[in-house]
């Protein structure tokens, strides 16, 4: 399905949706949102792009296989869980920087946990999607 309207809309929607997913990720510590929802919104952005331009074009933007996001995300999360052990706290304790960082605010180890979840969700959803859609393409050819 090639539709110029969808294609040009996607061109603007992709960055907006990605920004929105980041907003959800950062907001998630105290308000509704977080890594899981953020990851879903981000993957929807790529899903929309692949609807408009085909999965091959989307792979070109992503540059790497989405599968590789899963171990990356998992290791970020796992490290942020175990990091407090080095400071003598139980695992999963939130460690915070003492000064807030401009524009973003307070940053703690829980943000990195959420970031890991975000990457894993994007990786899983896109892997499933591309596996299905690329199989379909092969069958058509």
């Amino acid at each position: 399905m090639k539709s110029p309207i969808l294609q040009s809309a996607t061109k603007y929607l992709l960055p907006i949706l990605l920004l929105f997913s980041f907003f959800l990720l950062l907001r998630g510590h105290y308000y509704p949102g977080g890594g899981f929802v953020g990851g879903l919104v981000a993957s929807i952005a790529f899903v929309l792009h692949s609807f408009a331009n085909g999965p091959d074009e989307t792979m070109k933007i992503l540059k790497r296989k989405p599968l590789s996001l899963i171990p990356t995300g998992l290791s970020i999360s796992a490290l942020s869980i175990t990091l407090p052990l080095l400071f003598g706290y139980p695992p999963m304790t939130g460690l915070w920087f003492e000064e807030p960082i401009p524009f973003i605010g307070m940053i703690g180890s829980s943000l990195f946990f959420d970031l890991g979840v975000y990457l894993v969700v994007v990786g899983v959803v896109l892997t499933i999607l591309f596996t299905i859609s690329l199989n379909n393409l092969e069958e058509k050819n």
């Binding site: 171990p71 998992l74 290791s75 796992a78 869980i81 003598g88 695992p91 304790t93």
Partner: protein, 502 residues
């Protein structure tokens, strides 16, 4: 005492799995990482058990939230011993898998999922929160679904559908039970629950809630009316996977029963009688199944069901000696059942089939390996001084004491059927000549020595531990004695989690 490192065995397997995901499709690297990770896991578990023996029960408040508000992890003697035995079985299966699993399955992530499974098992043993226990159960069953379907043969998928349907049902019962329990008491921490449950006025409601847990765990550990998914699914996946399932997964159900029925729902007269009846029927149905099955792995599956009955009976009697029997049997059963399925895997490599009528002549061809296997089989039957002998003494003694003669009869029946089934298997598979007209396809003989060692070493390792437990029974009995003390009198557990009670 608070110790922030009791989750070590969980983290080791988590990081092992992540490293293997990074090495996606590099099967040689994955095998090496798996071996190293499992070995480290064993070392960390030994250290954990050692600490628990020295310092008493250790706890960890995740995220530094005080119990009963946060999730608490508790390493008492039962948990830490089970973590050690799980790690040992995990090491054996991991070594065996490096040659016993075909490359195609490894390419699709066999090893990471296997380590996630072991991580889930360790987590389930260590958690002190009932909802967290449910979450670990989910980690376990999701990993086991993947392991079971990996490879995608038709027969495998058929087994997996049965397995999945029944396990999801079990989880639903378990989760419903947790929901009701939370509604009644407002707590999920098991130590806290054990205090609050005594204060509830409507004890009848508590009894009903406990049946939800009984059904949920009953399905998972394959107790009498709910066992039939097990023999119809465990013979389908590769032997290394079946070893993990047969050795460990049903035993988590037993562990959860021990935990829940000792801490939260102290069994009343009705529950005890119910458990005894279930135990007797489980043993009888398991034995009847074992008598007629002529496929090695189907036979082993029915023996699992039969021996689950022994442990349920011990929980049903719920006295100190009976619990000692159950716990000792649990330790023995994990090691031996894992080993049995590994043996089935080796026999398949040697002959290309597991049907007894096409098997034969293994003793003539491989006398040394056969003797090693015989040792494991003797231990399963319970010949003294091997590990299967000791727990049965406790079970017999206590059931005679309490005059549960039906259970005594079932124990005798179960033991004899095990003996008969194993003796028949021995004569059919090892002593009998290869039947005429059967073209045995031996993949084992032409293997390079290193691969042969990787197949036999895990069996030797587990057999050595079985012998160690058998000959060193005094040490193990002392350990089991302390464990059942902790289960009968839970005040030390509650005190370790919630602090000194006034």
């Amino acid at each position: 005492m608070i110790d922030n490192h009791i989750l070590g065995p969980v983290f080791i397997h988590l990081f092992t799995a992540i490293l293997q995901l990074i090495a996606w499709r590099k099967t040689v690297t994955q095998r090496v990482i798996s071996g190293i990770g499992s070995f480290l896991g064993v070392l960390v578990s030994i250290r954990l058990l050692d600490k628990v023996v020295d310092n008493g029960i250790l706890t960890l408040n995740a995220s530094n939230w005080e119990a009963p508000f946060g999730i608490v992890f508790v390493a008492d003697l039962l948990s830490s011993t089970l973590v050690l035995i799980t790690s040992l079985a995990g090491l054996a299966v991991s070594l065996f898998s490096s040659t016993g699993i075909n490359r195609q399955r490894m390419l699709y992530g066999y090893f990471p999922i296997f380590h996630f499974l072991v991580m889930g098992l360790n987590g389930a043993f260590l958690t002190g929160d009932i909802f967290n226990l449910y979450v670990w159960f989910e980690v376990i069953i999701i990993s086991s679904f993947v392991l079971m379907t990996l490879g995608g043969r038709k027969q495998q998928l058929e087994g997996a559908v049965k397995y999945m349907a029944l396990n999801i049902l079990a989880s639903t019962f378990f989760l419903t039970g947790i929901g009701i329990l939370y509604g009644i008491t407002g707590s999920l921490n098991m130590a806290d629950l054990s205090q609050k449950i005594k204060l509830v006025n409507n004890q009848f409601l508590i009894g009903i809630t406990s049946t939800f847990f009984l059904i949920g765990f009953g399905i998972k550990s394959a107790v009498f009316p709910l066992y039939y998914w097990l023999p119809s699914s465990y013979h389908t996946p590769p032997s290394a996977v079946a070893a993990t399932f047969g050795g460990l997964l049903t035993k988590v159900g037993i562990y959860a029963m021990l935990r829940v029925f000792s801490l939260i729902f102290i069994p009343d007269e009705f529950t005890r009688n119910l458990l005894m009846v279930l135990a007797v029927l489980t043993i009888i149905t398991g034995s009847l199944g074992a008598l007629i099955k002529l496929n090695i792995r189907r036979l082993f599956s029915y023996l699992i069901v039969c021996h689950i009955g022994f442990m349920i009976g011990g929980i049903g009697m719920f006295t100190k000696v009976a619990l000692m029997g159950t716990i000792f049997y649990l330790f023995h059963d994990i090691l031996v059942k894992t080993n049995m399925f590994l043996i089935a895997g080796v026999i398949r490599q040697m002959r290309g089939t597991m049907e007894m009528k096409y098997l034969g002549g293994i003793y003539g061809q491989y006398p040394k390996i056969s003797l090693l296997i015989a040792l494991v089989l003797f231990s399963l039957v319970g010949i003294p001084p091997l590990s299967g002998f000791w727990p049965k003494i406790f079970l017999f003694k206590e059931s005679l004491n309490l005059e549960h003669y039906a259970f005594v009869a079932a124990l005798v029946l179960g033991s004899f059927v095990t003996l008969f089934a194993i003796a028949r298997m021995w004569s059919e598979v090892f002593w009998k000549d290869v039947p005429a007209g059967v073209d045995a396809e031996d993949k084992f003989a032409p293997m390079p020595l290193a691969r042969k060692i990787l197949l036999i070493l895990p069996i030797g390792l587990l057999a050595a531990i079985t012998i160690f437990i058998g000959l060193n029974a005094e040490v193990v009995v002392q350990l089991v004695d302390k464990i059942s003390d902790q289960l009968v009198d839970t005040s030390s557990y509650v005190e370790a989690v919630l602090g000194k009670q006034n």
